[in-house]
Amino acid sequence: MNSGRLLNIILGIYVALIFCFVFAPIIFSMIFSFNSQRFPTIPLGDFTTEWYEKIFADPDIWEAALNSLIVSSSAAVIATFLGFCTAYSDYRYTFRFKGPYLALILLPPTIPLIIMALAMLAWFSKIGISGQIYSIVIAHSVLTAPFAMAVIRLRLNQMDPDLEAAAWNLGGSEWATMRHVIIPFCKPAIASALFLTAAVSFDEFAVSWFVSGLNKTLPVVILEIVQGNIDPQVNAIGTFVFLISMTLVVLAQIFFASRQLKSIRS
């Protein structure tokens, strides 16, 4: 038993080290965002809000933030709609070519973003829809739909398959059943999917950078600042974006949790 406890302690330290590695860049970036040195090192400089003042005074960053907000919310709505349709089709029907059908929605995340960026840039230019805000929205809806599909499909798994049939037997049409039974049942998953896809879209930079033209989103602005030189503004923007993303994730979690609570109660 004693050697087992020793092993547990060693493994515990090991896990802690892994977490240190994973969180070091996040925590340091937050610390640096309040640090007066242009090139931060130890010992730290004075506490300052200079970098935050700079970014809040910069109209380009406000514009990028607005673009990011528009892109991530629109992409989330489209991706969640597409995800819902696919999840429901997969749940309800068996049909020929179901494999390719599912592959069509599930494949995008397995292709490196730089390749999708090139392919979408070329294709969007060809059909004349590149360089606009909606180009990024379209691209992100394709890239994030699989996540929405996964979340909603998991929720549908929990639905009693007889529920739909019962509604039909009681005289409800397919459309009425969808409106009064299935959508209410999936509501928490739909909300989760919206926040999750919005958060993924909010951080994506490779495809945005390629297809956006002059309409930059926040991550693209970060990319351009980083390319130039060392500028602690990046840390301030990063911390700010982190707070927004985490708010979205926590909201998604709350919907997820409330759904579980409800299913426990019933």
């Binding site: 547990n8 493994l11 515990g12 090991y14 896990v15 892994i18 977490f19 590695f21 994973v22 860049p25 996040i26 340091f28 970036s29 640096f32 090139f39 090192t41 130890i42 010992p43 709609f81 597409l82 349709c85 429901y88 089709s89 309800r92 029907y93 068996t94 049909f95 020929r96 059908y101 069509l104 929605i105 292709i111 490196p112 973003l113 730089i114 390749i115 999708m116 392919a119 979408m120 840039l121 070329a122 294709w123 969007f124 060809k126 809806s141 394709v142 739909a145 049939a165 951080d203 930079f205 991550p219 970060i222 980083v226 060392i230 990046v234 990063g238 974006v241 982190f242 979205l248 994730v249």
Partner: protein
């Protein structure tokens, strides 16, 4: 509630099935297929003209720099995969088989957080931490060591790859191992199997599928990432994603970039295919 395949498809059914087909064909399959076609186009006077010509393929595949870059990228992505799998394993083992359910859930929740922080900002943070006058070298200087050059080396690139892949690999390994039937591990122990032998002969074979899938994802992510090799590796040895970036952004040579992208996709398909075949291969004597 399954309908027979022969049944006529109604409006209701089509409403749910069609949107994704149309959307993904136009905006996902379209771009990918067009990229394949584009690899045969020609660029004349900085303008791309539609053609069917193998010039781009010939130009890229007969050049040494492409193959150097190709080998380097495959190699460093493989090294990254091996590192991530080995580094993650003890942690995943601890979380999956030795920690309580609550601890495991919290650990997984914490490991999801990095996915929602900007990877660019994390890379920039490493850039500052690892630099010659950065945090690590400042700490090492206190005990009389260094300074060490960590940026613009393969080590820097690997740190970036680990930042990207390690949380995912730990999560996937943990979930896989947590799903192993505990009675089998108990049985091995009762039959006198030593802990290390249990890991090699019981736990790893039982979680083979999940481990291989984790490795495939790790390889895909490292192989396709341009941020780590660019900012932390200094792109002295350009990886394929950097080659795509340079060719597209500065050179306007989209068809050549398409050739590189297609070669990358083929490589990934081959590796994913081999991995999945390996993952689902039945062992001799097994049911």
């Amino acid at each position: 509630m399954t309908t027979t395949p022969r049944k006529r498809i109604g409006l209701y059914e089509l409403t749910w099935r069609l949107p994704i087909i149309v959307w993904q064909c136009v905006f996902f399959a379209g771009p990918v297929l067009f990229m394949v076609a584009m690899s045969f186009f020609l660029v004349r006077n900085y303008r791309m003209t539609e053609a069917f010509d193998f010039a781009n393929w010939e130009r890229m595949l007969t050049r040494g720099f492409f193959w150097d870059s190709y080998l380097y990228t495959v190699m460093i992505a493989a090294v990254s995969t091996v590192c991530a799998m080995c580094i993650a394993f003890p942690a995943a083992y601890a979380l999956a088989l030795r920690a309580s359910e609550t601890t495991r859930r919290w650990a997984i929740f914490l490991l999801i957080i990095p996915f929602f922080t900007s990877y660019l900002v994390r890379t920039f943070s490493w850039f500052v931490i690892l630099s010659e006058s950065g945090v690590i070298n400042a700490l090492l200087a206190n005990i009389g060591l260094g300074p060490f050059t960590m940026l613009n080396t393969s080590f820097g690139t690997l740190v970036g790859y680990m930042t990207l892949t390690l949380p995912l690999v730990v999560i996937l390994q943990t979930v896989t191992m947590a799903n192993i039937d505990r009675t089998l591990i108990e049985a091995a122990r009762n039959l006198g199997c030593k802990p290390m032998a249990t890991i090699w002969q019981v736990i790893i074979p039982l979680s083979k599928t999940g481990l291989i899938i984790a490795a495939i994802f790790c390889f895909i992510l490292s192989f396709g990432d341009f941020v780590a090799p660019f900012y932390l590796g200094g792109s002295q040895e350009p990886t394929l994603p950097i080659l795509i970036l340079d060719t597209t952004k500065s050179g306007q040579q989209w068809p050549r970039a398409a050739v590189v992208a297609i070669m990358m996709m083929l490589t990934l398909f081959a590796i994913a295919f081999a991995g999945i075949a390996l993952a689902y291969r039945k062992r001799k004597g097994a049911k």
